[in-house]
Point group: C2
């Protein structure tokens, strides 16, 4: 791999303290690259950034409609959430529609990433369950898809399980990749497979996700349904204080953005017909967020008020334990304004 | 700044998922560079990696002796601790020796970084105080130094306060730098100033810290006292599950290692007379730890049993929420074995 280039700087006082390297690509609905920096052809694990594509079987099979899932449930199926009470309760309610409980989830348990929810859970003498796992909405969707399709959900995280094969087929179709045994794959934090896909293919897939172009009317309808759900319920797509929730709350249906572990983002700007994929080389979320913000600023027209509100995503302030501002993060290099 | 070079790789399955760039330098007691990679002359904020040097006024003024501080208190003064009960209690006891309480601390409060201690605190209906701040031992040392020296401790975090001026003088002497108004400075997480110092000067300072060479008998004695304290009480220098504690528990007095925020490490290997300073360019602790481990492996002879035990620092295993091994971290480039 070539040494990557700096795209984000972290300042303390007036001095650059740390730097982040990364790659990003933006393509239009025709598949033409309109912006690129770094290595955009190298396969990367998209991790949770493609949860909206992984939710396709749930929608396209009719399972979501059969169980009466609305915006909140569909947004949660696409989410990496903070484990806040409403997130956990909604995941439980999704499972209940299919006659299942938390026992059906195979994602593992962890304390809520939302600190106040974690402290409240501890204060109440509770302990985390799989419902608090940031992926519980996605997994509840997997279980519901399986149940509606008369597939035994047990072992649904396995690469050879029918659930994962339906997902891999859908993701492969959207991104023009064959996710078979020849593709590099790893095990994700929630135990499902994650397949290495080049950034430019991911961006192409998300241009389709935003436009419905080249995928047929049924899939285009599923894409529109999932985008509408996240635009209507951005809190369910991530949670309190989170970048994805904040951006989609501010910009509504104009931007669908989804983070993944290890510094990945996938996004679409439907009005512009653009698909976006990026990776911070070192895996830092703080940098991936600023990279994403720089691309939003570049391609989505905003009012002055929106620009003012957007500054906290583009140039986040770093504060210390006494609440004193000690630094800032800013786009740099190819992503500098 | 030139684009930095990759020194650490993060694998998921058999594929490199993320990479970290960085710089490192090792110098001997004569100041000769015996290993270097990256940019070792650029000033970096050492942050908490120089807490042992910042503890010099406490020891050299006689304050530590006057208050009867033993290994535990001195190690805590050099620590970035996890906020575990014994850490917080020891910081409180240090303050009590000087007739002060938690109210004297100006570092701010945060929940213990040690997750189980944080959950236990919440479960007991508690809330974090400045004693749980990872820097509370250092700050307790500052307050005790001030009180013993008849300096009003109020405002001791300020750059112009006598406490910080004594510290800057000591750190400047040890690292051959003038930490005056012309030097780039930022505000640290705990509100004290942090001064930008080139990595090679930091390494030179830590070669002196490990050997006592070129600093006079009194300072050499203070260095030896602080090193002995951390070797005897490595738990107080960081805490449960932490790299610094683990390494110093395994290697005893053969390695003094101290991490700082944003991917910095300072260290000395006294038997070899070496001083070490490094920075992961993107600020990631996981990579700075593996960089440090790679230099330990390169320069400190270990028995076969020690090598086996050391593997968890050199090639940490990444596990997911189900406890499944999903990847590893390894040194790369100039730091590869």
């Amino acid at each position: 791999m070539t040494d990557p280039a700096v795209v984000v700087e972290v300042l303390r006082g007036a001095t650059v303290e740390s730097v982040h390297c990364g790659s990003a690509v933006v393509v239009d609905a025709a598949g033409k690259v309109v912006f690129a920096c770094g290595d955009t052809e190298r396969p990367v694990y998209p991790r949770s950034a493609i949860k909206a594509l992984q939710a396709l079987p749930l929608v396209e099979s009719g399972a979501a409609a059969r169980y009466g899932f609305g915006d909140a449930e569909l947004a949660l199926a696409c989410s990496s959430h903070g484990g806040e009470p409403r997130h956990a309760a909604t995941a439980a309610a999704m499972l209940a529609k299919a006659g299942r409980t938390v026992e059906a989830l195979e994602c593992g348990a962890h304390w809520p990433s939302h600190a106040a929810s974690s402290q409240a859970l501890a204060r109440d003498g509770g302990a985390p369950t799989a419902l608090h796992n940031n992926c519980s909405g996605k997994h509840a969707g997997f279980v519901c898809f399986a149940c509606a399709a008369d597939i035994d959900p047990r072992g649904y995280v396995g690469r050879q399980h029918k659930v994962q094969r339906f997902i891999a087929e859908a993701v492969g179709e959207v991104t023009d990749t064959r996710l078979d045994e020849t593709v590099a794959a790893g095990t994700d934090g929630c135990s499902i497979p994650t397949y290495a896909i080049p950034l430019d293919r991911l961006a192409r897939g998300f241009a389709r996700f935003g436009t419905g172009r080249d995928v047929g009317p049924e899939r285009a309808k599923a894409f529109a349904r999932l985008r509408a759900a996240c635009a209507a319920e951005p809190y369910m797509a991530a949670g309190t204080g989170r970048f994805c929730t904040g951006v989609m709350t501010l910009l509504g249906a104009r931007a669908f953005v989804k983070t993944g572990a290890e510094g990945v983002f996938c996004a679409t700007f439907p009005d512009q017909g653009l698909g976006i994929a990026l990776k911070c080389a070192d895996g830092a979320s703080r940098a991936a967020e600023v990279m994403m913000a720089a691309l939003i600023q570049r391609f989505i027209p905003m009012s002055d008020d929106e620009k003012t509100a957007f500054a906290r995503f583009l140039n986040p302030v770093l504060s210390n334990w006494n609440g004193i501002e000690v630094g800032r993060i800013r786009p740099a290099g190819a992503l500098a304004a």
